[in-house]
Amino acid sequence: MFAVKQPTTKVLPLYQEFHPRWYRPRVSVYWWLGQWQYLKFILREISSVFVAVFVVITLLQLRALRAGPEAYARFQHWLQSPIALAINGISLFFVLFHTITWFNLAPRAMAVRFRGKRLPEILIAAPNYVVWALVSAGVTWLVLR
């Protein structure tokens, strides 16, 4: 129709006139590394593994207790090994991370209203920390008394 040179005639094999091909960027496997917020999210997700580690250690402890004083002593000895210390240290870090991030998210998930106004976030997050502190104090008292 028009003998004019035009970009649309030197089409790539993939382009058909009037049928644009969308470019779909692929999400990289390492998408969570690029941004601190994403990394934090992934760490929060991973932290659940370490919550489980704590539970498993507690179960092993119970098993050792049932198996008698000797087994229990062995278990306690193992707990003092560098590996056990490392596992527990890392787990503690993640469990704290888990607790704190979830407590901070709690106000998001719970919209408590008082006289028509939404309660400020701090009023929802704070009680979690208070209860946490009280329970920890209680446990400390039980263990150390």
Partner: protein, 599 residues
């Protein structure tokens, strides 16, 4: 060539277009309805309206008072039968929107709340916080989603109306995503394309407001009405043109010149009082305030900035508490876009092009003299706005006349037969034109941006707040020259896919036509009325000009202006008096004027 076919086709998905689509669907659920919009409907510029929408609801108010405020505010250039229909139906339309879920602001008892507004003697402006247009548009858009007969053509750009033998058969449109140019035929077409603020260099209007519908109708043979009436809002932020609401002045803001003097007292707008007085000083009408700014500027009593002269809007005496509770958005905008805090600093403001009173000439049902063509919203001129629109009337206008046009078009369409092959042939010609003139063009030297800038400069210089014969004539010449140069435009972008440069070029073509009609109408109206002020004819002339300008396009592309008498029903033309008639003990604006940006 592809084509699709509908019964009723809306060009535009703003407040007017979506309201019309629903009205048509409700009149006759069997009709197929298309909404064609160059942006996703919820991006339409209705979204930016903030102040509110007027409609009489409260006991202390009456339809007659709303009508009178509108007519006197429009300097008696309104058709009074249209105004009477408008004020009567506005409350029902606003109520209907409530039923569709619009989050209107409420009184403590759960009833609709209303606020005061410029030029309105009573409180009758419904509002949804300070985002009325946003909430109205999203409510309408979401409501249309449940109507199956409504098909949307999102991001389709209409380039031409298909006209055969005085009858409109549909449109030609470009699907932006693919670049496909095709006919969409319909038995009735309703133009709802909004205003044309972008014809001017400095405006509150979005990038999409290019007067497309006005030019489409004009080229198809319909007439444009009262195009010389362009509203300047007195308080826009320099550079961005972002609006600072009328409510800022209703709360008690002062306008100060460079000496800190409330200069409005020198322009027959009353004596300064510490507190706001209705219809006086800072609460005078928009046209008079913008005119006072120009006079002050000529006296050298404004401040120069890189983005033009400014005066100051002073809110400091209101204090942080009032500003935060009543004008939070003003503060946010100033902080965000002007980097200043109105609690402590003066806000630089200057008049800014805001609204087009004129448009496609229609009757009270939105019908134009072209069979099958309707128009509603800012693109149309019914006329209820006369020579100066009152803030908050235009959102209601979109609803009332959108609904009326939708119903009328649906009834009309049900009687018609489908378009024939001639429409297809026309569409094919249009496609060839677009390809020859832009996509496949060889040669050409002019850039879209250059011509656009020169057009904007030319029209501001000739048809700004004040006009006179020589500058208008110069403007007309310049526009003629630009029309010629437009033929020589060359695009960097020759591709089919989402070609926004092509879109910009076509919009520029529309704007040139609209600009020309503005200048021609302004040239012919040798009187001053409302927003049209001629320094060479400073008085209103009811003898000769109590009439609408109608501008037609002649076959050679030039224009012809005619006059159509204004319809007067019950309100004889009178004098518009502001300020000096302020009552002895000044009537105070009730303190409950809520926050928000006015329109």
């Amino acid at each position: 060539m592809d084509a699709s076919s509908h019964d009723v086709l809306l060009v535009g998905g703003g407040g007017a277009g979506l309201r019309a689509a629903i009205a048509a669907a409700e009149v006759n659920p069997k009709l197929s309805i298309a909404v064609v919009s160059k942006v996703y409907p919820m991006r339409s510029h209705t979204v930016s309206a903030e102040g509110g929408a007027a409609g009489v609801v409260k006991g202390d108010d009456s339809l007659d008072e709303h009508a009178y405020d509108t007519i006197s505010g429009g300097d008696w250039l309104c058709d009074q039968d249209a105004v009477e229909a408008f004020v009567k139906e506005a409350p029902q339309e606003l109520l209907q929107l409530e039923r569709w879920g619009c989050p209107w602001s409420r009184e403590p008892d759960g009833h609709i709340a209303v606020r005061a507004f410029g030029g309105m003697k009573r409180r009758r402006t419904w509002f949804a916080a300070d985002k009325t247009g946003f909430h109205m548009l999203h409510t309408l858009f979401q409501t249309t989603l449940k109507f199956d007969p409504i098909t949307r053509y999102d991001e389709w750009f209409v380039t031409k109306l298909l006209v055969d033998d005085g009858r409109v058969d549909g449109v030609v449109a470009i699907e932006l995503m693919s670049g496909k140019i095709q006919a969409i035929t319909a038995k009735a077409v309703i133009l709802c394309t909004g205003g044309c603020g972008r014809v001017f260099p400095f405006t509150t209007n979005a990038n999409i407001k290019n007067g497309d519908g006005m030019a489409l109708a004009y080229r198809a043979g319909a007439s444009l009405k009262d195009m010389e009436f362009v509203q300047y809002h007195p308080t826009g932020l320099p550079f961005t043109g972002i609006l600072i609401t009328e409510a800022a002045r209703a709360e008690g803001g002062y306008l100060l010149n460079k000496d800190g003097y409330r200069y409005l007292q020198d322009y027959n707008l009353g004596k300064p009082q510490p507190n706001p007085v209705m219809r006086s000083m800072e609460l005078g009408p928009r046209d008079r305030l913008s005119q006072a700014f120009v006079m002050e500027d000529q006296k050298g009593r404004t401040l120069a900035t890189p983005y033009g002269s400014v005066v100051h809007l002073d809110l400091r005496h209101l204090g942080e508490k009032i500003i935060n509770s009543k004008l939070p958005f003003v503060r946010e905008l100033c902080l965000k876009y002007q980097n200043l805090d109105p609690v402590k600093e003066l806000i630089p403001v200057r008049p800014v092009v805001h609204y087009m009173m004129g448009g496609v000439s229609t009757d009270m049902n939105g019908a134009t003299p072209l069979a099958g063509l309707y128009a509603a919203g800012e693109v149309a001129c019914v006329s209820i706005n006369g020579a100066n629109r009152l803030g908050s009337n235009s959102l209601s206008e979109c609803l009332v006349f959108g609904a009326r046009a939708g119903k009328a078009a649906a009834l009309y369409a049900a009687e018609q037969k489908a378009a024939d092959d001639k429409a297809m042939a026309q569409a094919n010609d249009e496609r060839k034109r677009l390809e020859a003139q832009f996509l496949h063009k060889q040669g050409g030297r002019e850039r879209v941006a250059t011509i656009r800038e020169q057009m904007q400069k030319a029209i501001e210089k000739s048809a700004g707040i004040y006009r006179e014969e020589t500058s208008l004539a110069e403007g007309a010449n310049k526009l003629f020259e630009l029309q010629e140069r437009y033929q020589d435009i060359v695009l960097d972008d020759r591709s089919r896919t989402f070609n926004t440069e092509l879109e910009g070029a076509l919009e520029l073509g529309f704007m040139l036509d609209v600009a020309e009609s503005i200048v021609q109408c302004a040239l012919h109206r040798t009187e001053s009325r409302g927003a049209h002020q001629r320094t060479d004819f400073p008085a209103r002339d009811d003898e000769n000009f109590l009439a609408h300008s109608l501008v037609f396009r002649k076959p050679d592309g030039s224009s012809r202006v005619e006059y159509l008498p204004v319809k007067v029903t019950r309100w004889a033309p009178g004098e518009r008096v502001y300020g000096e008639q302020a009552p002895e003990s000044p009537q105070q604006i009730p303190q409950a004027v809520p926050a928000g940006r006015a329109g």
